[in-house]
Amino acid sequence: MSNPQQPRLTPLPEWEEEAEAMLDGVEYDTDLGVRMARDAIRVSNGELTDAEFHEKYHEQVMEEFGKDERPTKPEGFDDD
């Protein structure tokens, strides 16, 4: 992914294909990465709140990484 001529600013419909390519070969869950990346952009867009985003993926992140240190954690969120 380090080709300096790679056109970025990719139209959204083509983005998921690129995201999957980036995550190809990663030892972590590719599908989780794509879904979280998609929703992280939705959070930036204001379509999803930080809290909703955090809660939606907390269990899967804990399962995959053994910890969840995302800054989206809402105040008072129960980690257990």
Partner: protein, 281 residues
């Protein structure tokens, strides 16, 4: 509070890649990777235009423009939200940075970045010369890297290397929250746009197109606060006056956050009229 941002004048950018190379040099970026890129808008490959030559005395459709890109240091950065170990974080001054000690190489941040601003160390980083370059230690294999706005330089009151080494004076760096800063004045004066504004990421890199901003003389390594009395332009044009300061020529590597006076910006004569900025002929 300080909130750093960058303005890139696309009418001034000549596509020389000095920003990309100086970034590699300053930040010890491994071979095969770029934190800072100059994309070509036009043809399929670097420095190739779209369209064709004029034929039969008519107007041709040749068109080529440059799109410099790097980390946009988004205020609302998806990469920060998605990092499971908080390795990607936003500094108090707005610079988005990566803690390479924490990064586990999951690359979720790469997938979440709409600007493709991040690179991953697939292999053992290779440097030329082997001992590396610049003032930043090499990153270990297996981490994600990206532009830091040269935070190590910014911490010492200097501009990023790409800004200092741009021979076309197309880059301006400074505090977006300071209305008197040069970046703020340019953003207020010119019509700017941000990349992928519809994504809501609030990038802190602004692009000027359609009207060329005036050139700024390099002004040595003085801090912005020391430049309050510096007169950058004397005649209201975008020509750099002969007695404009110690740095003088473009391409100086002396750094310094630049100052600009309001009148000079307001009276500047654009080299490229907005209507004809596309270069279609």
């Amino acid at each position: 509070m300080t909130n750093y941002g960058l303005v890139i004048d696309q009418e001034r950018c000549i596509g020389c890649h000095a920003c990309a190379i100086s970034c590699k040099q300053e930040n010890n970026v491994p071979m095969g990777q770029f934190w800072n890129r100059v994309l070509t808008e036009g043809g399929d490959k670097m420095d190739t235009p779209s369209g064709g030559y004029p034929t039969d005395g008519g107007n041709g459709s040749l068109d080529m423009q440059y799109q410099p890109t790097a980390c946009q240091h988004c205020e609302n950065a998806p990469c920060v939200k998605v990092c499971p170990v908080n390795a990607t974080y936003t500094r108090d001054d707005g610079i988005v940075e990566i803690d390479y000690e924490k990064c586990i190489g999951c690359r979720y941040c790469m997938a979440a970045c709409p600007y493709n601003a991040r690179v991953f160390n697939w292999d053992e980083p290779e440097h030329m010369p082997e001992e590396g370059t610049g003032d930043v230690p090499a990153r270990p294999q297996g981490v994600v890297e990206k532009c830091t706005f040269c935070s190590h330089r910014v911490d010492e009151g200097l501009d990023p290397a790409c800004v200092v080494n741009c021979p076309a004076d197309a880059r301006i760096f400074g505090d977006l929250d300071d209305e008197a800063s040069t970046v703020s004045k340019y953003i207020n004066q010119y019509e700017t746009h941000q990349l992928l504004e519809d994504r809501g990421t609030k990038p802190k890199t602004y692009y000027i197109s359609g009207e060329m901003s005036p050139g700024r003389p390099q002004t040595s390594d003085k801090l912005e606060s020391e430049l309050d009395d510096v007169q950058v332009w004397s005649d209201g044009t975008d020509d750099v006056p002969a007695d404009s300061g110690s740095g003088g020529s473009a391409g100086s590597s002396t750094g310094g956050i630049h100052s600009v006076d309001d009148d000079a910006v307001g009276d500047a004569v654009p080299h490229v009229p907005a209507v004809d900025a596309g270069g279609d002929d």
